[in-house]
């Protein structure tokens, strides 16, 4: 709500100083006395500003569902401000909605940089949000931390060169290589004929996964799997009969792909209707959220997917000391909803922001914040994060494991970790089971 008010005031033509006065009102009253006369005097009463761009409305909104819960916790924790040097500064988190639209994301990032003059930009949820915001930060030389997008579409799609990388924008998440690794590990633990049905749509993710050199095909071939890939299809299609008959003809026992939830539902119902019954189905994106899995009805039991984060991850928050389990339980208690993977990553994003600001010597220089960011060695609720040994300069990787959606737990479906070969510190809850 607050950022809407601010925007309206700005739009009505109030000067930036008046705007600062308004936000300054949040600060202790005494701060106002001397602060408004001149800009340098005001600088002493500075506020640490975090900008946060997230898709709160539109098709990507499920990613941002936990935002308010996390933000409330973080604001409560930071109500006494952050100490930098000998001074304690109040913290303001300015949240902007990208409306699931890349253009809008770039626009609000610009507002945050130029009007709000944020010290550190935070952005989350899919390349449609992270990339335009990161690009704006790179151009305007504002430090930026990004997450919740596989690192390749964040790095390479923005024109990143592994040798030089970016100066101002940094990312933490896993990559496509981890997905391939986890999926094939899961498949190897079952007895199949190693024929894989590929369901790749004609969008950014589908083309990346199905890419002949950088995607699934080369890795699958190397590991002895045969891929049946009928070709790219348009998302939101109503009919998968052609793909299903191709898979049936090739006798595929494994299904993989990266499809949006409505397509997953259509595909899976049609597969069942038309008598295609694979032994294992590992799907990205389409069964990420419990609500999408529930919409598959009884047919979703034992569908598998990559697990970014779960309450069973043995990590604690550096900000609140809570364990992953405690954060997930707190979320369910306060919202009545089941935990989702972005919950952990949104929390970790703010852990990093606070940790970095605490290590800055003095406020006001972007370089100082960037250097503090580069020196990060933090154990967060999604795992240890450091930019010193990523696959490329600007990327820190978090561990990824594989799991299956199972019935019979606290919720209609629970995501159970069934393979941890890539990250043994995360415990396995159960063995991999074939689809019935």
């Amino acid at each position: 709500m607050k950022d809407n008010n601010n925007k309206r005031r700005l739009a009505n033509g109030l000067s930036r100083r008046n705007f600062l006065k308004t936000s300054g009102g949040l600060v202790a009253g005494a701060a106002l006395v001397g602060g408004l006369g001149s800009a340098p005097a005001f600088a002493k009463q500075r506020v640490i500003k975090f900008g946060y761009v997230t898709p709160q409305t539109g098709p990507l909104a499920p990613f941002a569902e936990a935002d308010n819960f996390i933000l409330n916790g973080v604001r409560e924790k930071l109500k006494n401000g952050i100490q930098i040097g000998s001074r304690t500064y109040p913290v303001e988190i300015i949240v902007k909605d990208s409306q699931s639209n890349p253009n809008r994301a770039a626009e609000v990032a610009n507002e945050l940089i130029l009007s709000d003059e944020v010290d550190l930009m935070l952005v989350s949820s899919t390349p449609e949000t992270t990339n335009p915001v990161s690009d704006q930060c790179e151009i305007n030389e504002v430090p930026c931390i990004s997450t919740v997008a596989p690192w390749q579409p964040w790095f390479f799609t923005r024109g990143g060169k592994p040798e030089t990388g970016f100066e101002w924008t940094y990312h933490f998440f896993w990559g496509l290589e981890d997905v391939v690794e986890n999926y094939t590990n899961m498949w190897d633990s079952l007895n199949t004929n190693k024929v894989v049905a590929g369901l790749f749509p004609n969008d950014g993710d589908g083309n990346a996964w199905g890419h002949k050199e950088l995607g699934f095909p080369p890795v699958l071939a190397k590991k002895g799997f045969t891929l049946v890939d009928p070709g790219r299809f348009q998302s939101l299609t109503d009919d998968f009969s052609a793909q299903i008959s191709a898979y049936k003809n090739a006798d595929a026992e494994i299904v993989t792909g990266v499809v949006i939830p409505p397509d997953m539902t259509t595909f899976w119902s049609q597969a069942k209707q038309q008598g295609f019954n694979p032994k294992v189905a590992s799907i990205g994106k389409g069964i990420l959220f419990p609500s999408s899995v529930e919409s598959l009805g009884q047919a979703a039991h034992n569908l598998s997917t990559e697990v970014w984060w779960s309450p069973n991850h043995p990590f604690n928050s550096s900000l609140t000391g809570q364990s992953a389990r405690e954060i997930a339980t707190g979320y369910t208690q306060s919202t009545g909803k089941q935990w989702t993977p972005p919950l952990g990553f949104t929390h970790a994003l703010f852990e990093l922001a606070v940790d970095i600001m605490q290590r800055v010597d003095s406020l006001g220089e972007a370089e100082a914040i960037r250097d503090a960011l580069l020196a990060t060695e933090l154990d967060t609720v999604v795992g240890p994060i450091s930019w010193k040994n990523g696959p490329v300069k600007n990327v820190a990787k978090t561990p990824l494991v594989g799991g299956q959606w199972r019935q019979g737990g606290d919720f209609m479906y629970d995501l159970v970790i069934t393979n941890n070969q890539t990250a043994p510190m995360i415990p396995v809850a159960s063995d991999m089971q074939p689809l019935s």
């Binding site: 499920p62 070709g231 299609t237 009919d239 009969s241 793909q243 008959s245 119902s269």
Partner: protein, 288 residues
């Protein structure tokens, strides 16, 4: 055998498209009203069904008993008190008003139901199928959708050509002034027509909700195929709309069989080809 399967699945898909299109066809046929918000009304009906199903614990198919009359009333009120005021010589006002309604509907649904994707589960019916041969299984749900589509078109055809109300519909559509001279209340007739169209939309919405996920923003994606089916079939012809839907469905299925990348494209190409050779569609009803 692959091709038999392709054609059968394509025909069944066509039933779904025809159902999306019938409401549009009615509105255009009688009121000359192009309803940009058509897809959003389908999604609205899906959400109404969701509320009925979750609050009363009914099966989605039975929720039709409540959702259809509800949409009928919404349609009547909407046409009588809003859309009638926009109709006239200029085709632009109704377009703009329905475009506005589309945006309002999406945002109201987002506000009320959040962005979570939803689906109505019909239990075992979701994945039930009839096995004809090893290569050919027909899903029960798509079959129900197809049969309902045919039944709706048949029913409307009867209403239009065999009843007094149907005569009033056709008369008002052909010549508003003369119809009025004969004692027909045009606004009431238009409102009734919209009400019937919305009842069909309600059925389409419930079937959409049972078939796949829906969220507040999926409406517009459902609009395009509906439009194409109406145009292929010929404006104002209900059987034409059914034929249009089936042609589109089969074209897409055949395209997908060649290469999934061609699925949507083939539908559009067939649409364009028909537009070139039969600019007024296959079975146009009226000459105007």
């Amino acid at each position: 055998m692959d091709w038999v399967n392709t054609i059968v699945q394509g025909v069944l898909l066509g039933g779904l498209y025809a159902m999306f299109a019938t409401g549009l066809s009615l509105m255009f046929g009688i009121m000359r009203l192009v309803n940009i918000a058509h897809g959003d009304f389908i999604v609205l009906a899906s959400y109404l069904a969701l509320v009925v199903v979750t609050s009363l614990g009914l099966s989605p198919l039975i929720s039709l008993v409540i959702v259809v009359p509800l949409m009928f009333v919404i349609g009547y009120v909407l046409q009588r008190y809003l859309l009638n005021k926009t109709l006239g010589d200029d085709i632009l006002p109704p377009l703009l008003v329905t475009f506005g309604m589309s945006i309002i509907l999406q945002n109201v649904l987002l506000e009320v139901f959040s962005a979570d994707s939803q689906k109505l589960s019909a239990g075992a019916l979701d994945i039930a199928s009839i096995t004809v041969s090893d290569q050919l299984s027909v899903g029960v749900m798509p079959l129900i959708v197809f049969i309902s589509g045919v039944a709706i078109v048949g029913g409307l055809q009867f209403l239009f050509y065999k009843t007094e109300l149907g005569r009033a519909f056709r008369a008002t559509s052909d010549d508003q002034d003369t119809a009025r001279l004969m004692g027909v209340n045009n606004s009431h007739i238009f409102a009734l027509a919209m009400a019937i169209a919305m009842a069909v939309v309600a059925i389409a919405g419930v079937f959409l909700a049972m078939r796949t996920n829906f969220d507040p923003t999926v409406g517009p994606a459902r609009l395009l195929y509906g439009f194409e089916a109406v145009i292929i079939g010929g404006l104002g012809s209900l059987w034409g709309t059914l034929a249009g839907g089936i042609i589109l469905g089969v074209a897409q299925a055949v395209g997908a069989q060649i290469d999934p990348g061609w699925q949507i494209m083939t539908g559009h190409i067939v649409f364009l080809v028909i537009l070139i050779f039969r600019p007024r569609g296959l079975f146009p009803r009226s000459v105007d």
